[in-house]
């Protein structure tokens, strides 16, 4: 069958659907990954992609709006903070509405030309529903976060309702299938089909120091692909200041475009690296400190290591709360982050056993390969 996958192009939106796309492709289905803007990340997934808004200045649209949108959840303007207010006033509105407006015509046109049997869209990229409708295809909403749910996604739907009205719909249709990556402990009633999150964090050459066992316990520190640009690297500076007192080695994974000039005179047990795929890095780590990004959180849960989550914006607070509630991590502010808390990562047995339990739960969930098989039975018809 033909599967059209569609997400926004940011890593955090795109990466969580890649393993699913691989599952479909390696079962022999045709897969086309539709996105817009910077195509660099999707090109190195090994998939075939299509730019649905080639003429648009996506960089400008994102650049003007993303900072305020990102910080809104930690500056008192989260989605739940003012339920009575007009969504159009929300800092995130211009960003997400703008992206949807920029992509919808190209996406619907592609669906009409390419005629997929099913459209798989990241849950907040609701214009996927319009693409499905245009092609007469099935529709699959694909969660990208462990604590994301229908209520949160409904807010994004409300942001895009004008687009749906233009296409003759007064309200958003329900997708045929929801895919939920939350393990049972964290969400006893999944939204739709449960699917194991299998991390995709980009391909790459692994450095030599990464393939063996480290001599001391290794703690990975990361702030993901967006937060450093939006909110600085404060938590990392605090870790660097505390590291010398802690009997562990620290790998600070900051990606390729971050200003790390404030990290001077790092102690011997702190290694600063550029972009390293998170999965392999955590496989050699005892614990992780991170910002609560959806993919980072899921990868940390999959790795089964205790976590400190220091939310910086976006859905950070929601993911941090979920990790803490599950007992496998601590939800802390920048100011609370100190050596004592980091030590707890190494010594707190209950954090570790909860982390191991959640990891086992995730690994027992239906794999992307199994879900792909189920999708083929549902939507493949004669063409699978």
């Amino acid at each position: 069958m033909r599967v059209l996958v569609t997400t926004l192009s940011g890593h955090g939106h795109l990466f969580p659907l890649v393993t699913t796309a691989w599952a479909l492709r390696s079962a022999g289905h045709e897969v086309l990954f539709a996105t817009a803007g910077d195509m660099t990340a999707v090109k190195t997934t090994g998939l075939h992609s299509y730019n649905v808004a080639p003429g648009l200045d996506m960089g400008k649209l994102v650049g003007e709006n993303v900072g305020e949108a990102f910080r809104s959840s930690t500056s008192g303007r989260g989605f739940g903070d003012n339920p009575g207010g007009d969504l159009r006033d929300h800092p995130a509105f211009r960003l997400f509405n703008g992206l949807a407006e920029g992509m919808v015509d190209g996406l619907v046109g592609l669906a009409r030309d390419w005629r997929p049997d099913v459209v798989v869209y990241e849950a907040m990229n609701l214009i996927g529903l319009l693409a499905a409708r245009a092609a007469g295809a099935g529709s699959v909403s694909h969660a990208i976060g462990v604590s994301h749910n229908k209520q949160i996604m409904a807010v994004f739907g409300a942001m895009q309702i004008d687009i749906f009205r233009r296409h003759g719909l007064d309200e958003l249709p329900e997708p045929d299938v929801y895919l939920d990556v939350a393990p049972p402990s964290m969400k006893p009633e999944p939204d739709g089909w449960s699917m194991r999150y299998v991390p995709y964090n980009g391909g790459g050459q692994l450095p030599g120091w990464l393939t063996g066992r480290p001599e001391r316990p290794r703690i990975t520190v990361t702030l993901g692909t967006v937060a450093p640009m939006m909110a600085g690297i404060g938590p990392v500076e605090r870790i660097a200041a505390a590291a010398a007192k802690i009997d562990a080695e620290f790998v600070v994974a900051m990606g390729s475009n971050v200003d790390t000039s404030s990290l001077r005179d790092l102690p011997d047990n702190v290694r600063l690296v550029g972009y390293v795929p998170l999965g392999p890095l955590l496989a050699s780590s005892t614990a992780v400190v991170h910002h609560g990004g959806a993919g980072t959180t899921l990868t940390a849960l999959d790795a089964g290591v205790p976590q400190i989550v220091v939310p910086q914006g976006a859905d950070g607070p929601v993911n941090a709360a979920a990790v803490a509630a599950a007992g496998c991590g601590l939800n802390v502010t920048d100011e609370e982050l100190d050596a004592r808390l980091v030590e707890r990562l190494l010594t707190d047995g209950s954090l570790r056993s909860s982390a191991a339990r959640i990891r086992a739960e995730m690994r027992a969930m239906p794999s992307p390969a199994e879900v792909a098989d189920r999708l083929a039975k549902n939507f493949g018809g004669q063409n699978s």
């Binding site: 890649v18 393993t19 699913t20 691989w22 599952a23 492709r25 390696s26 079962a27 022999g28 086309l32 195509m39 999707v42 090109k43 190195t44 997934t45 090994g46 998939l47 075939h48 992609s49 299509y50 730019n51 592609l110 030309d113 390419w114 194991r196 299998v198 995709y200 980009g202 391909g203 790459g204 050459q205 692994l206 030599g208 393939t211 063996g212 066992r213 795929p277 392999p280 496989a283 690994r363 794999s367 992307p368 390969a369 792909a372 098989d373």
Partner: protein, 380 residues
């Protein structure tokens, strides 16, 4: 399950393994590559690799293989057994720079199973040393027609390294993955240790240009020579382009990111493109003319279109013969590709029917996802 992949350095060896690696990830297994040469191809597929031979100049290694061996290969061209034996000798030298790193990474990473391409001796050495199952992935169809036991050849060439690592003999693979469709096997049963797998083309990711989604107005033929042949000069393309200029069709000349200016101004019905994944291009084509590389041949079979194959070296003669013997098209020399042959390529209904039938057969074979489930059996 932890699966370590190790391949020979060229794209023709690396790319056919990617769909299986993706399938393994899709089932939630851990995957790592350790190989030399075109390591970026693995990164570009979204997978992780340790470079097994940084700084090694493989072009020099191939060039350094004496003229004597090249003559032997040329003389053996139609004989599968002899070709394989000579190739294994050649590739022992190609495997050599990777041996130490592959073993060391395998010892650190502790795979449950090692998957290798048939010419990559490091797979056998590492599997032998660790005592883990070895799985060989065959690159092309018909390659399992004759299966001489050539382990002694590999051992002779690399005796010093095998002895140093305490590996007394080259292990037999626990399984050989075969992409040969049933009818190409002549209806023969596969031996117990051979697993059929549908070849799912992977020729790189891409941003698809819009013109590939449009239905062409004329019949369209793809001309390609794979990833190695163009580096030796484009002279062999000239007669094909000349024939194309007279044909009632449009042609896509896909030679990769190669400078085609030596071909002069191309005829009006021939369009040169940069590197695009073969499968994506073939989806808009009615036929293909190519050199017979294993991956190119399999991708064309997957596209279900007839083929003219102009073999130049390596296993291309064998692949060309397989295409012709199965009624999918014809093996030819470059000079034999004329207007009449191109017209036959586009018009021969038997070739087309056979191509469609074989694609159906290919699609009915167990997918990489199913083969991964079988691999999991090694871990109990």
């Amino acid at each position: 399950m932890r699966i370590l992949f190790t391949t020979s350095p060229g794209l023709g060896h690396i790319l056919p393994t990617i769909s299986l690696a993706h399938a393994a990830r899709a089932a939630g297994h851990d995957v790592l590559y350790v190989a030399g040469g075109q390591v970026d191809a693995v990164s570009a597929a979204g997978l992780q690799i340790v470079d097994a031979s940084p700084g090694t100049d493989y072009a020099q290694i191939f060039m350094g293989i004496g003229a004597g061996v090249r003559e032997q290969m040329a003389a053996a061209r139609d004989d599968l057994s002899r070709t394989m034996a000579i190739a294994l000798r050649m590739f022992a030298k190609v495997s050599e720079p990777t041996l130490e790193t592959v073993v060391r990474v395998a010892e650190k990473w502790q795979p449950d199973v090692i998957v290798h391409t048939p010419m990559q001796a490091a797979g056998q050495l590492a599997a032998g040393k660790l005592g883990v199952p070895l799985v060989a992935l065959e690159l092309g169809m018909g390659h399992s027609r004759v299966r001489p036991d050539l382990r002694h050849t590999t051992y002779e060439e690399l005796r010093e390294q095998f002895e140093r690592h305490g590996v007394a003999e080259v292990p037999n693979p626990a399984a050989r993955i075969s992409v040969t469709p049933p009818s190409v096997r002549g209806g023969e049963e596969l031996p117990d240790d051979a697993w059929a797998m549908r070849y799912v083309p992977y020729n790189g990711g891409s941003v698809v240009p819009e013109w590939l989604l449009d239905k062409p107005e004329r019949r369209r033929v793809l001309i390609t020579l794979g990833t190695v042949v163009p580096a030796f000069g484009l002279g062999i393309v000239e007669p094909i382009v000349a024939a194309a200029s007279k044909a009632d069709a449009e042609f896509v000349l896909a030679l990769g990111n190669v400078d085609t200016s030596s071909l002069g101004e191309l005829p009006g019905n021939v369009r040169a493109v940069g590197y695009l994944p073969l499968g994506v291009m073939l989806s808009s084509c009615d036929a293909a003319i190519h050199h017979g590389g294993a991956g190119t041949t399999m991708t064309t079979v997957d596209a279900g279109i007839p083929q003219i194959v102009v073999p130049q070296a390596a296993d291309q003669f064998i692949n060309a013969d397989t295409v012709q013997a199965n009624g999918l098209g014809q093996r030819a020399t470059v000079e034999e590709v004329d207007e009449a042959l191109i017209e036959r390529l586009l018009g021969d209904e038997q070739w087309r029917a056979n191509a469609v039938r074989l694609r159906g057969e290919l699609h009915g074979m167990p997918s990489p996802v199913e083969v991964v489930e079988r691999l999991a059996g090694f871990v109990g």
